[in-house]
């Protein structure tokens, strides 16, 4: 400290923050620059809404991948949101405090498990199970939904718990004092008061599910087709980029960047909605 002084520290921090931000900005600009011109050249409608993806003949329709991402994400939502919210409610309102203090960080730690490990479990355990029980290829929308549903649990549980714990104790007391049971208090007052935070947690989880790549490549099967059953193999937007980027050139490469732009926009929208929801909660207090 004495060596560089307060001013010096400030300057170093400023430079670090600035370079981090400009790196992010550059990446974003790069993707947009590579992808957007292609979209206009190829035609946005043809790119987004056509089902033909055949790079060798120069047709780039990502509609099957959009549908695949949609199915898988909604599937992850159906698996992850009820489990996550129920878990958060249980841990914050019913479990003894010491239990929550141990379990919550443990769940948050699950977010640190590399996604390839989730994918591995999906391939080794889940896909064979689905094949046996429901038939089909096993590697499917269903497998991806379940794996992603589990992967978003830490996000959903952790943020939901925080927002439930932020509900003033006076609401709970007011409800119990009117003769409500603990359960009635939880679902009629506490969860409603924490609603915007819980919604935000789910939306952030969704952002994670849409962006997830490795685990999805491993368990979704990667067939380019519009799914019509949860047991179908699909290829998501992220998987499409990751699978083909290594050998793509020219138009093909630009089409993959354009796919990236689509993902980018979707995730920005989701995060904006989530932060608006959270800000609404903060403003209410």
């Amino acid at each position: 400290m004495a060596l560089i002084g307060e001013k010096g520290v400030q300057r170093i921090l400023l430079v670090t923050a600035f370079s981090a931000m400009s790196a992010l900005l550059l990446i974003a600009l790069f993707i947009v620059n590579e992808g957007v011109p292609f979209m206009f050249r190829y035609g946005i409608q043809g790119f987004l809404l056509s089902s033909d993806w055949d790079p060798s003949s120069g047709t780039f329709g990502i509609f099957p991948m959009i549908m695949a991402s949609l199915w898988v994400t909604v599937g992850a939502l159906l698996v992850g949101a009820p489990l996550g919210i129920a878990g958060a409610v249980f841990l914050s309102e019913f479990a003894p405090r010491p239990v929550m203090r141990v379990v919550k960080p443990a769940i948050e730690l699950l977010a640190a498990i590399p996604s390839v490990v989730y994918g591995f479990i999906g391939v080794m355990v889940l896909a064979p199970l689905i094949r046996e029980v429901f038939g089909g290829p096993g590697l499917s929308v269903l497998a991806a939904s379940i794996i992603l549903g589990i992967m978003i649990l830490p996000t959903v549980i952790s943020i939901s718990i925080d927002s439930i714990l932020a509900v003033p104790q006076s609401y709970r007391e007011g409800s119990l004092a009117l003769g409500a049971t603990v359960w009635q208090t939880v679902h009629m007052v506490t969860v409603r008061a924490a609603k915007s935070g819980i919604i935000a947690s789910v939306i952030l989880g969704l952002g994670r599910a849409i962006g997830e790549t490795m685990a999805v490549i491993m368990v979704a099967g990667n067939a380019v087709k519009i799914p019509d059953s949860p047991l179908d193999s699909v290829r998501t937007l992220t998987a499409n980029i990751a699978l083909e980027m290594s050998y793509a050139t020219g138009m093909h490469r630009e089409a993959l960047f354009a796919t990236g732009v689509v993902l980018f926009v979707v995730i920005i929208i989701l995060n904006t909605v989530a932060s608006v929801a959270m800000r609404k909660r903060a403003a209410k207090k």
């Binding site: 609401y171 004092a177 009117l178 003769g179 409500a180 049971t181 007052v189 409603r192 209410k284």
Partner: protein, 257 residues
């Protein structure tokens, strides 16, 4: 004490001890509360007024590590007996808190909350009771056009009267009030006091207050507490004009501390 003696008092507290972990917050407190009277609890901060009040609807059950000894009889029946249904008790003994705490729901949803919780679904009777309760709390005219607006957007004094209204909707027998006016300005305070005097016709009211004038103005009986003990409990007039204990006199005349 047997449970089937005809009750002379609405509430009879006997030898009530309460421990927060190791700390004893109530020390062998006795108190007898008459029906349809206003009973005030006064005393310096931290003497156990809120604790005693919260024993009467068993809100202290919610606090981890609380131990209660002694007995509290409501209409002659011990509310700390194992078979007591606590939600049923809290419907009979309602509570108004120090800071208005309407739920973050609409005005209407707040008023009918206790009824919904009790399983009443019929919307016509809900509407009727909501209107009656809001009228009873003297706020129907102010909120009749705002029933679907968020309760938290009402001014503070209306929020507090809404809390009273939602209590009246479940038709309790006893109303506990823990410093209900401390967040309100003098005019709003006066209104709540008038309301209490009106409600006294039908309800037994127990109020904790820091404000001795308030106790003198509204209550029929007053208990003076100090360090967890009930120093003196008597008719309000007696407490304020000729208390029998020196400690009470010191507090009343402002010599305390």
């Amino acid at each position: 004490m047997s449970d089937n003696v005809t009750a002379q008092y609405k509430i009879e507290i006997d030898g009530l001890n309460l421990f927060y972990g190791q700390f004893q917050a109530l020390k062998s407190v006795p108190m007898s509360i008459q029906e349809r009277m206003i009973t005030a609890l006064i005393g310096p901060s931290g003497c156990g007024k809120s604790t005693l009040l919260r024993c009467l609807n068993r809100m202290n059950d919610l606090i981890h590590g609380v131990r209660v000894q002694g007995s509290v009889h409501l209409d002659g029946i011990d509310i700390y007996r194992p078979a007591q249904d606590v939600t049923d008790l809290r419907k009979r003994v309602g509570m108004v808190f120090q800071r208005p705490n309407p739920f973050p729901l609409t005005v209407y949803q707040n008023v009918v909350y206790g009824l919904r919780v009790a399983g009443i679904r019929h919307s016509r009777s809900l509407d009727e009771i909501a209107e009656r309760s809001l009228r009873r709390a003297w706020m129907w005219d102010q909120v009749k056009d705002k029933l679907d607006e968020p309760a938290l957007e009402l001014p503070l004094d209306q929020q507090q009267r809404l809390c009273i209204a939602r209590l009246l909707a479940v038709q309790p027998e006893v109303i506990l009030m823990d410093e209900p006016c401390s967040a309100l300005d003098p005019i709003a305070t006066m209104k709540v006091e008038e309301l209490m005097l009106e409600l006294k016709k039908d309800y037994t009211i127990i109020i904790v207050t820091h404000n001795m004038q308030q106790a003198a103005r509204v209550s029929d009986f007053t208990g003076y507490m100090l360090l967890g003990e009930m120093i003196e409990f008597s008719e309000t007039q007696v407490i304020f004009t000729r208390p029998t204990k020196k400690l009470t006199e010191d507090y009343i005349t402002g010599k305390y501390g």
